[in-house]
Structure formats: structure tokens, C-alpha cells
């Protein structure tokens, strides 16, 4: 096909393929991922591979893809009822690991602040992008409650909830 010979940039390719085959929803999904694919070195048969990838993406396969938002996942083993594990796919079985979010692009973190030190309580994927997840970096705000100071943040870049970047 013509676009295979002219070697267009992968982002355009994905966009064009998406538009032709999968409709507007698929297109916008491909479009969002462009920045990620731009960095990759393209092989001559990339267009066909890309078409497969776009299709695969557009079919909404479960959260096992690196295009998903990655967040640090941690849940303090004590004094915690319930879990946020269901909001993504946890990689590895260690106490602190990475989670690939399945319903948003938003990470959260909660830390206990005592004697000037922060101890992680919970980290993971937040379920919604619309709850004030405006910053790419973890800028915390404090909450004074039940005799403790907790710092919490929402942020929308990969592993942004690993550490506090700005203490509120």
C-alpha cells in the first residue's frame, strides 16, 4: 500500500489506519498514544505491525499493555480495610510494586507524616481522571484527622506517586 512506501511517521500511520477501520473512538485512542510510539525505531514492515497494534489497542484488551498508566502500588499491611488493587494489574508480588491502571490515567498516594518523616500508607491507581488529577507531579495536601497528619496527592504521569515532589 502507498503509505508503506512513503514511510510516514508511525503516529500518522496509526491515525490513518484507525480512521479508516475503527471509527472515531479508535482513532482518538491511537492518537493519545502517539508520543509513546514516536520514540521507537521503525522497521520497514512497521506499518503492518502497527496496524495490528492499533487494532489490538482499540479492542480494549485488558490492562496488560505498557500504554496504560503505571503507578507505584503499595498498601500498608496494617490498619487497612479494603484495597485499591482492583483498579489495575499489579506487576510482581513484592510489597511495593508497579500497577498498570485499568480505568484511569491517575495515580494516588497517601503518606503518614510524623516527626517530619513521611511513611507510605497507600499508593496505586485512582479510579477516575476527574477527581482533581490535574498535576503531573505528586503535590500533596495535608489532612489533619484522628490525631494524625496524612499527606495525599493525585497525579497523572507514570510512577508520579513514587515520591512526594511538593509537600503541601
Amino acid at each position: 500500500p502507498s503509505h508503506a512506501r512513503s514511510q510516514p511517521s508511525p503516529s500518522h500511520l496509526c491515525w490513518a489506519l484507525g480512521e479508516g477501520r475503527l471509527g472515531s473512538q479508535a482513532r482518538s485512542r491511537c492518537w493519545k498514544k502517539d508520543h509513546w510510539m514516536d520514540g521507537a525505531t521503525m522497521h520497514p514492515r512497521a506499518p503492518r505491525l502497527l496496524r495490528g497494534l492499533c487494532l489490538w489497542l482499540s479492542l480494549g484488551l485488558p490492562g496488560t499493555l505498557s500504554w496504560n498508566r503505571s503507578c507505584v502500588f503499595y498498601e500498608h499491611p496494617h490498619n487497612l480495610q479494603g484495597s485499591m488493587r482492583h483498579r489495575g494489574h499489579v506487576l510482581g508480588g513484592a510489597e511495593s510494586s508497579t500497577i498498570l491502571c485499568n480505568s484511569s490515567q491517575c495515580c494516588f498516594g497517601i503518606w503518614n507524616q510524623s516527626h517530619g518523616r513521611l511513611q507510605a500508607v497507600m499508593q496505586g491507581c485512582w479510579g477516575s481522571d476527574r477527581d482533581g488529577c490535574d498535576s503531573p507531579a505528586c503535590k500533596t495536601s495535608p489532612i489533619h484527622t484522628m490525631g494524625a497528619i496524612l499527606q495525599r496527592c493525585l497525579c497523572h504521569s507514570d510512577l508520579c506517586n513514587a515520591n512526594v515532589s511538593w509537600l503541601g
Partner: protein
């Protein structure tokens, strides 16, 4: 002020003029004052706004026979002590991380977000 409030006409209703009829409007609720909620600090709870009157818009599929009869009384000049009102008729839940005396708890709170409106 500590509270913030944002209102936007939700995307599906942006074409209609304001207050044309009872409908869902975007409303962000600040949870700063809810001292036991850790995350989120705010969320989009929405609200139902607009008048309930004849002719009933097809935009409000959810009205009951009771509502229609009340509106009929009003039309004929009978005073109602409580006129039909635009309210949420369907809600969705919201996941909240809160602190309790037993520690930190992940809870699905029911009826947190207005999803559909109707005249009742």
C-alpha cells in the same frame, strides 16, 4: 474561600440554552470539609437543575403520572404547596478512601453522583 465550586454545562446538553428544562449539570463538590475523607479532595457530583413545567420536554423521560397530575393542577390554577421539582432519579457510586477509628478504609459510597434527572 476554602471551598471551590465549578459548574459546566455537561457536554451532551451544551447545545440547549440555560434553564430550558430540568437537566443534569456538572457540579464539583469539595470534600475538604469532610474530615474523614482522605481521597479524593473533590469530585464531580453533578446536580439537576431547571424548571419542571408543561410541556414536558422529551429531555426529561423520567416523570411519573403523579408529577403530570400535579402539573395539571398547577396549570388549572390550583395552588400546590410543593411544586414538581427537578431532582436526581438515578445515582452512581463513588470509591472513597477514608479514615475511621480502625484505620484507613476503602469504601464504595452509594448515591454519590447524580446521573439522571427527572421531575418529581
Amino acid at each position: 474561600a476554602h471551598w471551590q465550586e465549578k459548574r459546566k454545562v455537561s457536554r451532551q446538553n451544551r447545545s440547549a440554552g440555560p434553564q430550558a428544562c430540568c437537566r443534569l449539570q456538572e457540579l464539583t463538590v469539595d470534600l475538604h470539609y469532610e474530615k474523614f475523607i482522605i481521597v479524593p479532595k473533590r469530585y464531580i457530583a453533578n446536580n439537576c437543575e431547571g424548571p419542571c413545567r408543561f410541556p414536558l420536554s422529551t429531555r426529561i423521560p423520567d416523570y411519573s403520572s403523579h408529577t403530570v397530575l400535579l402539573m395539571g393542577m398547577q396549570e388549572r390554577g390550583a395552588p400546590l404547596r410543593r411544586s414538581p421539582c427537578c431532582v436526581p432519579v438515578k445515582y452512581s457510586d463513588k470509591e472513597i478512601i477514608r479514615i475511621t477509628t480502625e484505620g484507613i478504609q476503602v469504601t464504595m459510597f452509594p448515591n454519590m453522583v447524580a446521573e439522571e434527572c427527572g421531575c418529581r
